[in-house]
């Protein structure tokens, strides 16, 4: 990763949200807001570029490396460009029993991509992820902030159509079972 001086801008609404989160911690402990701010930035930009991470480092008065090391440790952050909608299929234990593999294979066929790849139109990235805390409602996938549970092939088809028509719907924070 090389740092660049390229200007990026956070819109005022995003800056306000970042400042609100920083205020939740005592004076001098603003670094505690880092994980939340990375989520906010990723929801806005789609992924975390070096420019975005450098900007956050300046905002929190910490070294860029402190941001990079966190962004690369936690599996929810993407430091490479992804599709607008990440379909993250849980494949751990109970979801495996209930057919996570079947769901992944179906998505792979439907979108013509393999796990880890992004569709040519830049809308979907498919990922296999570890336990998301929905074991009783398996199989399931997460798309942005949405949980989609009790999945069937038909349900997957319907939600792919839905997200293709409206990719930003993945940050509605809804549970759809």
């Amino acid at each position: 990763m090389t740092s660049t001086e390229k200007n990026i801008e956070f819109p005022q609404s995003i800056l306000d949200e970042c400042n609100r989160v920083i205020q939740l911690f005592p004076e001098g402990k603003q670094k505690s807001a880092l994980l939340r701010i990375l989520h906010i930035a990723q929801a806005h930009f789609g992924w975390l570029s070096v420019e975005v991470m450098d900007y956050i480092a300046r905002m929190l008065h910490i070294q860029p490396i402190e941001v990079y090391e966190v962004a690369t440790f936690y599996s929810m952050y993407d430091t490479k460009k992804t599709g607008k909608v990440k379909l993250e299929v849980c494949q751990t234990g109970p979801c495996m029993i209930e057919g996570a593999e079947r769901i992944i294979t179906h998505i792979e066929k439907r979108l013509g991509i393999k796990v880890g790849e992004t569709t040519k139109d830049g809308i979907f990235t498919l990922k296999g992820v570890e336990c998301l805390g929905a074991c009783g409602y398996a199989p399931m996938l997460q798309a942005g902030e949405n949980f989609h549970e009790h999945l069937t092939e038909e349900k997957v088809d319907a939600l792919i159509d839905e997200y293709r028509a409206n990719p930003t719907a993945n940050y509605m924070g809804m549970i759809n079972d």
Binding site: E66, F73, M76, T92, G133, C135, G136, G173
Partner: protein
Amino acid sequence: MTKKLLLENVHIEGINSYDVYRKNGGYSAVEKALKKMSPDDIVEEVKKSGLRGRGGAGFPTGMKWSFLAKPEGVPRHLLCNADESEPGTFKDRYLMEKIPHLLIEGMILSSFALGANQSYIYIRGEYMFVLRILEKAIAEAYANGWLGKNILGSGFDLDLSVTPGAGAYICGEETALIESLEGNRGNPRMKPPFPAVQGLWQRPTVVNNVETIAAVVPIVNNGGDEYAKIGIGRSTGTKLISASGNINNPGVYEIELGLSVEEFIYSEEYCGGIKNGKKIKACVPGGSSVPILPHFLITKTAESNDRLMTYESLAEGGFATGSMLGSGGFIVYDEDQCIVRNTWNFSRFYHHESCGQCSPCREGTGWMEKVLHRLENGRGTMEDIDLLWDIQGNIEGNTICPLGDAAAWPVAAAIRHFREEFEWHVTNPNEATKRNYGLISEKVFEKVNA
């Protein structure tokens, strides 16, 4: 019908809102505590209740609280562990989603008891929709005077907020959680010093699970003695169980500790029996890291006692023939499931989640995943089974945090009880990729343990 203390009102329409929660007796424990009780009174009630940590370790909560250092002039903190990442566990999410004010009420009571004026709920990043539910509930609590300065004129101040992780199982370990809350990678710390002395920002800190903190509400309302009347022996009160796998009614259930495992699995009130009329093959009773039990050790112990849903009964027989209550992540496997495949799946999970600090865990989890993958795909040897046994033994007890043990135990238990199924994968590689082994025989087990 089980007595319910946490989920009694969960089905009331709108209970997630402040008004409905309050109308149904919500925040009465805070009124009682701030008007009539001292912080030490609450600690005393919690001690009397026998409440044990509901996140998995089962450590007595009152005792944990009494370890908190109280140096003059140094702020103390209460952190709620809502990282819930143990595969098979989804109870905290259910509680927070359905009845968020119960957790907030518990946080106020517990913070008051510990003398903490700034408390945080650390929630796993994937539960962002739950974080938003909690933030809304916290705003309601502030607006109605339950949070902020001088609550109910008592002179007690409390600020409460919720902050997310970002996809790391390890942050459920309390020192990793603290690191993460400070904005760092989730690398667990060496203990001592314990968080009770040096925790968040080097200040004295208590970390408690969501369900533990919620249980303080009925303890304050009804008294610790009443709480301790429920349950058996040192397993007091109720416990939330997350039930998943091949059962008819997966979901979250509040049980009285002491319920028989048989009733929990087969009663319509709970799991409703095995799906599709199949036979039960195995059960992981307390989340992915606890030892898996073969079908003949689930409802009865090796001593032919009824197996009960308690810390002690599930552990009866030690790791040789028992398991653990753990987080209450209850996963049921039917006769069509492959234990080698399941063990490989869990090993992949632990390999993915190892933070990488300690070599035995960082390297060992990867080796276990690789060897198990080989066995599952018909390319394993008999030596591989012994190698697995060797690796897990070299991880257990040799790491800074319990993730090493958590990765080792499921592998050890699977080999201990299902060795014949592992060997069958080696001797029948083609068949093993086409069909599953089915139930294991009790005879082999008896021979091993003779």
